[in-house]
């Protein structure tokens, strides 16, 4: 069941096409990564989902219904560019923002106090926002985003501005929200966090989807078929007769240990077969498949589409 389906979204600004037939399907209860270089159109898409702007064409469905005003209460949005009223008191402001999301004043106050306690910032309730550190302001914004317990959360670069400790705290909170059944759309350049958190991703470049799917499948799809092996023995003893199946691309010897990288050329050869070939030539110490990072995939795809 998809909580959000955007189909064929087109958004044009005065002289450039921000989104050109973009599709996303977000499964309920998943963490969905919205990736792409700067200016790819991620924020335009997020603004359309938040009904800040409307698409020129295409449809957005929330829970199977065409997106409308009442869905505002089911969405929590933490924009990349965020801020608070500097002169307003922290608590007062958080209550105001929660009220705009449809919570009653007493409800909002009660919940906010709980969260403030949890994040250890209750003492700041009556302080003015301008007296707070940037990290603390970020915490408040995070709380305000999730306070109304929306079904769909959209985080645009949530980790920017957080120190490693608070970033970790945030990560834990995001995962626990997922456990409670929330769906999360996650827009970021931080590929490490994508690998840690996302179930599915889409990569947008130059206003188009260039890659979409399950994170694990994408990673498989982008296998390098390169294996890093360390062993004691002689490289020359490796059975040459099988050289049409693989190719040694790197070969270094440190002390009596040999490090080699093998590119498997034939997709039908299993790792076991490869190991079998290697066994006679020496004692294998380690055997690792070189798995592409999301970072590699990102750069590869973006470079490729940019060239096209």
């Amino acid at each position: 069941m998809y909580i959000l389906e955007a189909e064929n979204i087109v958004k044009k600004y005065a002289n450039h096409l921000a989104l050109d037939g973009v599709n996303i399907q977000v499964k309920e209860g998943s963490v969905y990564g919205l990736l792409g270089p700067n200016g790819a159109g991620k924020t335009s898409l997020i603004r359309i989902i938040n009904q800040i702007t409307a698409p020129d064409s295409g449809s957005v469905k929330f829970n199977g219904e065409t997106l409308n005003q009442k869905h505002i209460y089911n969405i929590g949005y933490l924009p990349e560019e965020r801020g608070l009223y500097k002169k307003m008191k922290v608590g007062e402001q958080a209550v105001y923002l929660a009220q705009l999301k449809g919570l009653s004043k007493s409800d909002a106050t009660k919940k906010l106090k709980e969260w403030f306690e949890k994040f250890d910032i209750l003492a700041w309730w009556d302080k003015k926002v301008e007296e707070l550190s940037k990290g603390m302001q970020q915490k408040i914004q995070f709380i305000v985003t999730i306070l109304h317990e929306p079904k769909l959360l959209i985080f645009d670069e949530p980790f920017s501005g957080f120190d490693p400790i608070n970033a970790n705290l945030l990560k834990t909170e995001i995962l626990s929200l997922k456990e409670k059944g929330a769906t999360i759309i996650f827009s970021t350049h931080n590929m490490e966090s994508v690998e840690e958190l996302c179930d599915d991703i889409t990569l947008i470049n130059q206003s188009k989807n260039v890659l979409s799917g399950k994170l694990s499948e994408i990673k498989t799809q982008f296998r390098t078929n390169i294996f890093d092996i360390q062993f004691t023995g002689n490289v020359n003893l490796i059975n040459i007769s099988q050289h049409h199946q693989f190719k040694i691309i790197e070969n270094t010897k440190i002390d009596n240990k040999t490090n080699i990288s093998i590119n498997l050329l034939d997709g039908n050869v299993t790792t076991n077969q490869l190991i079998n070939t290697l066994l006679p030539s020496g004692n294998i110490i380690s055997f690792n498949e070189r798995i592409p990072t999301m970072n590699d995939i990102f750069i590869k795809i973006v470079d490729k589409t940019d060239v096209e």
């Binding site: 938040n50 949005y77 560019e81 923002l97 914004q141």
Partner: protein
């Protein structure tokens, strides 16, 4: 009303509440609310108070009258020397009538004419403030002498010379056999013929003041609170809170909520000013000034004295006459003030304040949205402020000729009509003109708000772009 609609309304109310409360709770609002009325009250009270301060001091003046024209008695002896030129016989009760009667501020004591030098030499030991010497040849020399150990205030000099001049004048006239005063004072009672043929007294001075005051007030409020809308928009944009908020409410709702909230701040301030000013003036008056009943008692006294001296009207002093005159003026003013249609004026003030403010506030909001900081507002502020300032500049000539062509057109053109029509209203404006002006203002407001909202909607999410008029035009078409 469906649920979404109700929510929309609730949200606008929330926004209005925030905009209103954050501003009303500011120290600057409190300061303005207090300083404004204090200044206005001071403007009304201080001049009266100062003159009262002055009048609290009583000058005791010793008079050496060589002419014997001003004193009826020889001091210290009670002996009556009748040198007056009147035909009237002295009455037993009026034996001590003098030509220089005491007043609240001046107490005259006639001293022996022989001791002038002695008095001057021993001035310090005597309890007089001033020694007044009226020489025998005053009619020829036209001079009197005054002695004191301090600088003699101008008001005292003026008072005494006026008294003496008057008295001498009167005595001269009597010498020629002229008894009744021959001076004629004329003041104008202008009347406005109402539509029902009823005559209303009017005074162009008071109307003019009212007219300019209304125009200036409207200008001031539109400018001050319109600029606040702009600053509020810029604040939200530079704070980057804007995106969070418009993911909950529509940009138009936010803009209108802000505009209405700030309008209410303006109205609150205005009401506070009126209430506080009247409060301060009333309190200060009741503490410092004689109450109405006292004034009436004083008037009665004056009247009694006048009655007493029915045949010798020479005893009506100048100050009493002035006082009478003043009372008349005040009651005239009250008559005129009560003839102005206050209901219409107040109603029109609120209408033009709100409609004029709405017209400009939406434009100010659009400017705020189009720029990244207040420093960039210059080029867009120009076309907004020019009509406002033009209206202000025109006020003077409009007031001189409130029914002229210029006045008519500027009170119809919506960008100046709030100021100019408000200034024209105290001078009776044909109803159709008022309604035409109002209708055009409302229509223009709706139109500008529509355009402003478009610019606002695009502008609030646009950063780091140097925006020009061409760009704004594009935004209108998005």
């Amino acid at each position: 009303m469906n649920k979404t609609h109700l929510n929309t309304m609730n949200k606008i109310i929330l926004i209005i509440k925030r905009e209103y409360l954050t501003r009303v709770k500011k120290k600057s609002f409190l300061v303005m609310s207090i300083v404004g009325p204090v200044l206005m009250a001071a403007l009304m009270i201080v001049p009266t108070w100062l003159s009262k301060m002055d009048s609290d001091k009583t000058y005791s003046i010793a008079v050496v009258d060589q002419t014997k024209r001003f004193s009826d008695t020889i001091p210290n002896t009670g002996y009556l020397t009748n040198i007056r030129l009147t035909k009237q016989k002295p009455d037993k009760n009026k034996m001590f009538i003098r030509r220089l009667p005491d007043s609240k501020n001046y107490k005259f004591t006639f001293v022996d004419t022989l001791y002038k030098t002695k008095y001057i030499n021993n001035f310090d030991s005597l309890a007089y403030d001033v020694l007044l010497f009226i020489p025998k040849n005053i009619l020829a020399s036209e001079a009197i002498e005054m002695y004191s150990n301090k600088e003699i205030p101008l008001s005292t000099k003026l008072y005494v010379t006026k008294k003496i001049e008057k008295e001498l004048e009167k005595q001269k006239l009597r010498a020629y056999g002229i008894e009744k005063p021959i001076r004629v004072d004329i003041h104008v009672l202008s009347n406005i013929i109402g539509e029902d043929g009823e005559l209303n007294e009017s005074s162009s001075e008071i109307t003019m003041v009212l007219s300019i005051l209304s125009g200036v007030l409207i200008y001031f409020f539109i400018f001050m609170y319109g600029a606040q809308v702009m600053r509020g928009v810029i604040e939200e944009k530079t704070n980057r809170i804007i995106e969070v908020i418009i993911s909950s409410v529509k940009p138009f709702q936010l803009m209108m909520g802000k505009i209405v909230g700030i309008a209410m701040v303006g109205l609150t301030q205005f009401l506070l000013w009126i209430i506080l000013t009247f409060g301060i003036v009333t309190i200060v008056q009741s503490v410092m000034m004689p109450s109405n009943s006292e004034i009436i008692a004083q008037q009665m006294q004056v009247k009694n004295i006048m009655d007493d001296n029915e045949n010798t009207d020479n005893n009506i002093t100048l100050s009493q006459a002035q006082e009478n005159n003043m009372n008349e003026n005040i009651s005239d003013a009250f008559k005129i003030v009560s003839n102005i249609n206050w209901g219409l004026m107040l109603g029109a003030f609120f209408f033009y304040f709100i409609a004029g403010y709405l017209l400009y506030a939406s434009l100010f909001a659009a400017v705020g949205a189009a720029v990244d900081s207040e420093a960039d507002t210059q080029q867009f502020m120009m076309p907004i402020t020019i009509p406002l300032i033009l209206g202000m500049v025109m006020l003077q000539s409009i007031v001189q000729n409130p029914d002229g062509n210029l006045a008519f057109w500027f009170s119809i053109i919506p960008f100046t009509s709030p100021i100019i029509m408000m200034a024209r209203l105290p001078f009776s404006v044909p109803e159709w003109q008022v309604f035409l002006s109002m209708a055009i203002l409302i229509l223009t407001f709706l139109l500008t708000t529509k355009f402003a909202a478009k610019i606002y909607r695009v502008g609030i999410l646009m950063y780091g772009k140097k925006v020009n008029y061409k760009e704004l035009w594009k935004w209108l078409k998005y």
